[in-house]
Symmetry: C2
Subunit: 406 residues, 2 copies
């Protein structure tokens, strides 16, 4: 490798770093407040978290206050036990694997999950050697989950002599349409049938109010970089106290020659969770703000801004918000056939929209996508949302697309 | 949670952030150069890496140049295939699990590893449901690994009708004594016996020169925050091309109702590796420096400074460097019985050493430890090393411990 080849790694700088309005659907909830940017510097060096680790367990560190944070996080999400993980999906793998370990040999372990589940939920099941059975949604355009069907799907598996229930997973808000599904119904079904209930809160915990055990949740996954104003990668997993031993068992392995054992280390997270540095610190530093922002009032304001934009965009010919209406999340997807028509004739093809928005100081719409677009308004001001609406309409008009009067 | 409780998370700041000489044994290799501190800011927000992800796979991103980095990393470590992981230990779990998946049912899968292996290697085996058999070292004071014994241990397992070899793991440099074991011997044994050879390079890759396949390595794990000037958590795993499919197989799961499949996602890393943000960027940004510093010449200079300090400290009565001599790594452990004697009478007990060093601008010796101490001189200047030696001797003298003349 010569200097010429290596030079591409020098002076790396995020292209969309400064000054843009960012609509990226998975980035709005993960933007750091200034104090957490400072923390990122202070704890930037590798392993900086471990300066005062006295027990060999990151979750027990008191300076900085990791153990306190974990305790408070449990309260925040209304669960009993929490632990940081590298990501929400790692948390899902952990939960599903451990639940699957209880299934008798010879039976096929099955996870029931919603048809809107994130791909990583499928892959977490796959990694755990677990089959999936999906609960359907009602398809285009609302993609409304048929929550009642959890009961029938679970019954089918319970009645089977070959299969055995691992648990039921619900995606609190999905990543495609931003449909929020009330966990209460699934919680009740799971409780009635004695099935562990896992909630994927990657797109909700940290931006909307939520208490897990109130609605029958046994396991919860949350994402710092998605929804808790944190630098990635950092996730949290939480559970009810009855599952503590299953989720976080002590190591039992023993060196055959040395006799070395590691009883204080956690078996499932390879000792202590592999999140020793800056990302966890940003999660902790942003936590007071996250607690403040994830209230019913604040969330209602956020949803109102999202609905405002949806209403405005639907003035553009053919634009239709997908998913449930009125929308209950700031992440939204729209069909945009008019932009697709423009792209066909445009020298920049599908990239014209990305470019014309960027010229106006707006980024985050997937470059090249025009048939449908995904965006997120979380944390934008009303004024910014109005500006975004105006820009979309302006671009439409400039390309001869009809825009109905407001 | 009231403001009073939340206030402890405001204004988090690393106590040992600025101006200290840091001897922390696991932190010297993970200190960020200034340009990577800048990158940490630029890519601080969650998911910032994914601005231009066109294929749904982080390892294929071209802006910033992730895919190029991965290609260059493989060259750097002399392997064929690489992928980022959350940590070196996650990489170990991945490798061991995948190798274990080939073992026929009914057989006990066994990993042969060195008696100096990191605890996380034991836990990675445990997580994969794999037993361990240790290769002995010769104990106090050199802890020299009896590398030839890999052959006998492997033979024993191969001869057993109940057990089956998963692979052999060697810790390139251990974390307790900084003993560097030449992988060549183990590589040859593994090659002769047809056993996959895994090298844990967490304490070597990024600070000393190394090419994996030259010495028969089939799988390699490396740590960004330990030895590649990166913000944690970030690791790399690499393998020879024949193991690509085993290590990084495509997902095969299918939604039973939706028919959804994810053939472009990697099964073993839950889609794409959960390292979407700032830490990987710091690894990439520091890479040119890491390539420059991990040369035979530079490493020789580093080892010379470590030996200089070891020699100086051994002038203090009773101080003895543990592990192999002359030492081949900058991480070292010393028996320090004189400091233990002082601690017995001292009002601050074992913490006196930490405090008295800190007063002199030196941190990183584990607070409270005096019976033996671990430290690392990597990247310190000769002048700094001499200053550290002087301070230790000064503290010893002040407490009436004999220090022999230089």
């Amino acid at each position: 490798m010569d200097e010429n080849e290596l030079s591409q790694f020098r002076n790396l700088c995020r292209e969309n770093d400064k000054g843009y309005i960012n609509l990226q659907p998975i980035q709005r909830g993960g933007i750091l407040p200034p104090e957490s940017k400072k923390v990122l510097q202070s704890y930037g060096d590798g392993y900086s978290l471990c300066d005062f680790c006295f027990t060999g367990r990151m979750d027990e560190i008191e300076n900085p206050p990791v153990s306190k944070f974990i305790e408070f996080f449990s309260k925040f999400v209304g669960m009993d036990v929490s632990i940081p993980t590298g990501s929400s999906r790692e948390g899902a793998r952990l939960i599903i694997s451990q639940l699957a370990s209880r299934i008798p040999k010879g039976k096929e372990p099955v996870l029931v999950l919603d048809g809107l589940a994130h791909y990583s939920s499928f892959l977490a099941a796959e990694a755990a050697g677990v089959s999936v059975v999906e609960v359907p949604h009602d398809g285009n355009p609302t993609y409304l989950l048929q929550v009642d069907q959890y009961a029938a799907k679970i019954d089918e598996i319970m009645d089977s002599s070959k299969q055995e229930m691992v648990g039921a997973l619900l995606t609190h808000s999905d990543y495609l349409y931003g449909n929020v599904t009330d966990p209460k119904v699934v919680g009740r079904i799971c409780h009635d049938k004695g099935v562990p209930f896992i909630l994927n809160g990657a797109y909700t915990i940290g931006i909307m109010p939520f208490k897990g055990k109130h609605v029958g949740v046994d396991f919860l996954t949350a994402s710092g970089h998605k929804s808790m104003a944190s630098s990635g990668p950092i996730g949290m997993v939480a559970c009810a106290s009855e599952y503590r031993e299953l989720l976080l068992p002590p190591s039992q392995i023993k060196g055959d020659w040395s006799g070395r054992t590691f009883p204080h280390k956690i078996h499932t997270v390879l000792g202590c969770p592999s999140v020793y540095g800056a990302p966890l610190l940003t999660l902790m530093s942003s936590f007071p703000r996250v607690v403040e922002r994830a209230t019913a009032t604040k969330w209602k304001e956020e949803v109102a801004k999202a609905r405002l934009l949806a209403g405005e965009l639907e003035h553009i010919q053919g634009v239709m918000q997908l998913g449930c209406k009125p929308h209950e999340h700031t992440l939204m997807q729209f069909n945009t056939p008019a932009f697709q028509d423009i792209a066909r004739e445009h020298p920049k093809k599908g990239y014209f929209l990305y470019r014309e928005l960027k010229e106006r100081g707006i980024v985050g719409i997937f470059p090249g996508m025009v048939k449908s677009i995904k965006l997120n308004t979380y944390g934008l001001s009303r004024k910014q949302v109005q500006y975004v609406a105006r820009c979309f309409k302006e671009i439409a008009l400039e390309h001869g697309v009809d825009v109905s009067p407001a």
